[in-house]
Structures are given as structure tokens and as C-alpha cells.
Symmetry: C2
């Protein structure tokens, strides 16, 4: 990209492109350039695109601090994640960051370490910095005030895999966890399993609630009563996966199949099974959520309820750009897919 | 933390703490508060600590944008990583972010996706934003201009697991990869292996060069000639791990032991071994670098050259705070440790 090569060159030898040159190149006024580059609400998409490509072609970069003083915007997007220990965040953030970078936004990733109070602090921090937009995947374990705060801040926001709070400036990208879970349960039932356990997150956590709903629906459709002992919706952590697996397998009537309702939970499940010397696929059928290196490379490879993480990141980016431009928040639901492997055969 | 609970409460009911109150509480002048909170170079550590604790006790937070206008600093640290797909970055960034947060700095994580030109762009972006400090783990595959740029920018910086470029404002936290690799090779030799392969990164990448040096030293000490066919230092990616493993095992004289010189390389190695139905530990001894969920949970569990990732993050944070305060850059080398498991028995 020409703008990058200019930026990385020796400062003294690089001609600094001015806003006047961008205006001339795009054939528009200086104030149009200014409005187009600052996400002014009354700029047409055509003008925005024209000015952005002129700026990119010439290698023009506004001075961010000076720019933020003039216009109140900063060409940056804050992405607040619960934890980057979750391997799916790497794939999502790579594609999200790529699309945003193509549109000249830098993405700042802040990890709340699943602490609701840190989440609130970071959102206010980003608001003070006058970011152009926010993406947030709220903490999984703990009541969060993020939705209320996002509603109040008025900054264009995409909720990642969470429900959309009210407000025309807020959109959401969700996954169809419910259908994915129904498919997983139907698959286990078709292999003859009747005692199917689910370890998942608590009900206030949107994906956990959806997965539990899918579990109930699939069991009801098959007319099989759920043993409440087998449903452990305690939290989205490795510790929960470990503790609940040990407890389930120590019971007098253990499950023959186990669904780990999250990839951190799965790590704990696998550690418990390793210690108990339970052979995955032979002694116990196992299904995980989300496809990671661990589920692909484990022996035997692990059946998962998967989703297209690159698509999720891209959709989030496009929806954020749309929400910045139009302020007409909406929800997009992306599909999930059951990938059957040897762990559940 | 009282400051957080105040921040997350209803704005209207919260008393906004002023700089005057902080000055009174700390028993210092307003200009001292200002200098202490803005990392002014001529502030003693005692004054800094006193003012910071007063600010924290009262729940005082400067308005970042207004503050950056006055003082030119922003209470933020930029952390540029090659890729957050590398699972060790999650552990390092969690402990790094925790220590920085305790000192009232927000950490912004930017992923360069191992593209040197994006790295340069991000560094300039952070410099424009006038961050208080930088932490950078430069791209593993590709000549980077980051070191030169960091030298020129003059912003207090810690290089993470890389060599320190000249400049009193630059420090480095490194790992003793060389000793770790020597220990791994000595271990494999003690188990009778003579044809030991190494898949690693290219020589311009500091940790790869150190690992290769350790490999050479250990083989020389045992008086064993290295077959150059077994040393594949091509890059730190999963693709390299996969391709080189397939190539090594297709040879007429394959290795009996394999060292994956990086955790992304290891993922590719394991995929190739899975496809070739090679039993790890029985058909081929295997050693990885860095301890992750995958190496711990794999069956059999994988021998690794490990390091204390939480310690690495903490050391990086403390060294950055020190470098911001003293501008006396230095290098800290942390130990590595061989953890022997069934993959190399």
C-alpha cells in the first residue's frame, strides 16, 4: 500500500501530503474532505468513498491528535474483549482488524479479563478518546453494565455475540447457537446416547442461554426427559469444565455423552478426562463448541459446533462501518455448523 | 476498587473528584500533581507514588483528552504484537495489562499480523497519540524497521523477546532460549537419539537464532555431527511446521526426534503427524517450545522448553514503568525450563 510505504520511509525525504492536495485530487472542497474523513453524519457514501480513496492514493494521513481537536473523531475503533485467552478471539480480531484497516481505521484491543468493572472503565476510556466506533464482547461471568453504558454513550457500537441494547447507534452480530446445539444433541441421540450432559455458562450470558434452549428443545423433540443432574450451567471457564466433569463422572449414574458449552470449558473437560484416564470417543462421547487447534489436533479429533470466525470478524467490521454511516442499528445472525469427528462416533 | 465503582455508577450521583482535592489529600501543590500524573521527567519516584496513591484513593481520573492537550501524555501504553493467534501472548498480555492497570495505565493491543509495514504504521499511530510507553514484539517473518523507528521516536519502550536497539529510552525482556534448547537436545541425546531435527524460524528473528545456537552448541558438546538436512529454519508459522515435517519424514533417512522451535510451528507438526499416522512418543520423539493448552492436553502430553509467561508480562510492565521514570534502558533475561513429558520418553 503506497500510504504505508511512505509512512515507513525516512521522514525527511517524504513529502507530507496536505488536505489541500486531497481535496484537489478528489475534486471536492476542503470542508468536504474534512467532513468525509471525520464521519460527519451528513456525508453521502459516494463522497466518503471518493475522498477516502483520494487520501489513500496520495498517502495522506491526518495528524490524529490535531484532527481529534478539530473534528472530535480519531479514526480508531475500540474492541473490548472478555479475554484474549479465548482462541476464537484471535481469528475474529484478525479479520475484523483487516477490514477496518482497509478503511483506514486502527483497531485498539482492550481485554477486560472478564471483569465487568474493567469493561466499564475501558468503555469510558475509549469514549474519552472519542473513538469512531466500538466493538464489544462483554464479560461472560458476571452481571455487566456495559449495555446500559453503550446505550448512554451514543458511540456507534457492534455487540459481538451478544444481544443488542436499544439505540439506533447499536448493532449486533450473533451466532445461531441454538440450532447448533440442537444439531449436536440430535447427532448424539442418533448414536444411541440418552444420558447426555451439558456443561455451560450461566443464563445471563446470551450464548449460554441460547445453547441451553437448544439442548432443551432437542431433548423435548425426541421426547426424552432431562436429568437435571446432567445440566451444569455454572460458568464459561476452564475451572468449571474441570470441576463439573469430575463431579459428573464420579456419580453413580454417569453420562455416556458430554457437551462442553464453550472452548475454555472444553480445556477443563479434557484435563479432567486425562487425569481420570477416560478415553474420549470410546468411554465417553464428547462434543465441543468452536473449532480450534485443540479440537482439530486432539486424538481423536473432537466433534464441534463450529462457526466461521473470519466471516464473523468481517461481518462485524462491515456492520460497524454501516452503523457509523447510517445510525440504523440492526442484528445479523450468522449460522453454526456441526462438524462430526471421531470423539462422538 | 473505589475508583471503578465510582466510574460505573450513575454519573449524576457521583461527585467528580478534582485535581485540587488530590493535591490537598497528597499534601502537595497542584503543579506537583500535574507533573506526577503526567510522567514529567523531573519528578521523584516518592512524589509520583504519593500522588498516584492519592489519586487512586479518591477515585480521581483525569479527563484523557483534556489532559493530553495540557501535558502531551495520555496514560496509555501501546502493545504491538506480531499475532494474537500465538497463545502465549494471551498469558503475557494479561499479566502485563494487570500491572499497568494497577498503575493507572490503559493498555492498547494492536496486532500487526506479522506484517512489518503494519507494525511501522501502528508505531507511528501510537506516537501520534502520544502514548506514555510502548511494548513491542516485532514480526517474526520479515525484515522489520521497527527497531530504527523506536530508536528515533524517543518513546520509552520495552522490546519483548527481542534485542534492544540503542537508546536510553529502550529496554528489553528476553528469554534464555539458548540454554533451553541445549537442555532439550541433551535430554534427547540421553535417550539415545542421534538424528535430531529442528524446525525453526529464520536467523534474523532473535529467538530463532538463539535456539539454533543452542542446538549447535549441544550437538558439538556431544561431539555429534549435524546433518544439515535435519535443520529447517524457514519461518515461525504453522505452514512451515507442516511442510517441513512432511518433507523430513518422507526422506530415506528420517529423524528419530523432532524439535518444533515455536508453538505455531508445533501446530503444523502435529497436523502432519496426524495425517501420516505417526504415533508421537513411540514412532517419533517430539519436543515443543512454550507450554500451552495443546502441549499439556495432547495425548501423550508434549515435552516443552517452557518459560513463566506471567513473570514475563509482569517483568515487562515493571521494566516499562522503570524506563518511563529513569530513561536508563537495560536488558533483563528470564530463564527457560525443560518440562519432560511422554512425547520424548
Amino acid at each position: 500500500m503506497s500510504s504505508d510505504s511512505k509512512l515507513s520511509g525516512d521522514k525527511a525525504t517524504v513529502h507530507k501530503v496536505t488536505v489541500h492536495e486531497v481535496a484537489k485530487y478528489a475534486g471536492v472542497s476542503i470542508s468536504s474532505v474534512s467532513r468525509a474523513l471525520s464521519d460527519h453524519p451528513h456525508v453521502s457514501n459516494a463522497l466518503r468513498t471518493r475522498v477516502r480513496s483520494a487520501a489513500l492514493s496520495l498517502g495522506y494521513r491526518p495528524d490524529f491528535l490535531a484532527h481529534s481537536l478539530r473534528s472530535g473523531t480519531t479514526y480508531s475503533v475500540g474492541f473490548v474483549v472478555g479475554t484474549i485467552s479465548n482462541p476464537i478471539m484471535a481469528d475474529i480480531s484478525a479479520s475484523l482488524g483487516n477490514v477496518l484497516a482497509d478503511h483506514d481505521y486502527a483497531m485498539m484491543l482492550l481485554s477486560s479479563q472478564n471483569k465487568p468493572e474493567l469493561e466499564t472503565t475501558y468503555l469510558r476510556f475509549l469514549a474519552h478518546r472519542q473513538v469512531s466506533g466500538l466493538v464489544i464482547s462483554t464479560a461472560a461471568d458476571g452481571a455487566t453494565q456495559a449495555a446500559e453504558l453503550i446505550h448512554g454513550l451514543g458511540i456507534p457500537t457492534v455487540m459481538l455475540d451478544r444481544q443488542r441494547p436499544p439505540g439506533s447507534h447499536v448493532s449486533a452480530v450473533q451466532s445461531d447457537h441454538r440450532s447448533g446445539m440442537q444439531a449436536a444433541v440430535a447427532h448424539l441421540l442418533s448414536r444411541g446416547h440418552r444420558r447426555i450432559a451439558l456443561i455451560g455458562g450461566q443464563e445471563f450470558f446470551d450464548p449460554a442461554r441460547e445453547r441451553l434452549a437448544g439442548f432443551h428443545t432437542a431433548m423435548q423433540e425426541a421426547d426424552i426427559a432431562i436429568d437435571p443432574e446432567l445440566v451444569r450451567c455454572m460458568g464459561m471457564s476452564k475451572t468449571v469444565g474441570y470441576t463439573e466433569t469430575r463431579s459428573l463422572l464420579a456419580s453413580s449414574n454417569p453420562p455416556t455423552a458430554l457437551i462442553a458449552g464453550g472452548n475454555l470449558i472444553l480445556a477443563g473437560v479434557l484435563q479432567a478426562l486425562q487425569e481420570l484416564k477416560v478415553a474420549v470417543g470410546r468411554d465417553l462421547a464428547l462434543v465441543g463448541c468452536d473449532d480450534t487447534e485443540l479440537t482439530r489436533l486432539y486424538s481423536p479429533p473432537i466433534t464441534v459446533i463450529a462457526r466461521d470466525l473470519a466471516l464473523m470478524g468481517e461481518t462485524t467490521a462491515w456492520l460497524l462501518l454501516e452503523t457509523i454511516a447510517n445510525r440504523a442499528g440492526r442484528t445479523v445472525v450468522l449460522p453454526t455448523q456441526l462438524i462430526i469427528r471421531d470423539s462422538s462416533s
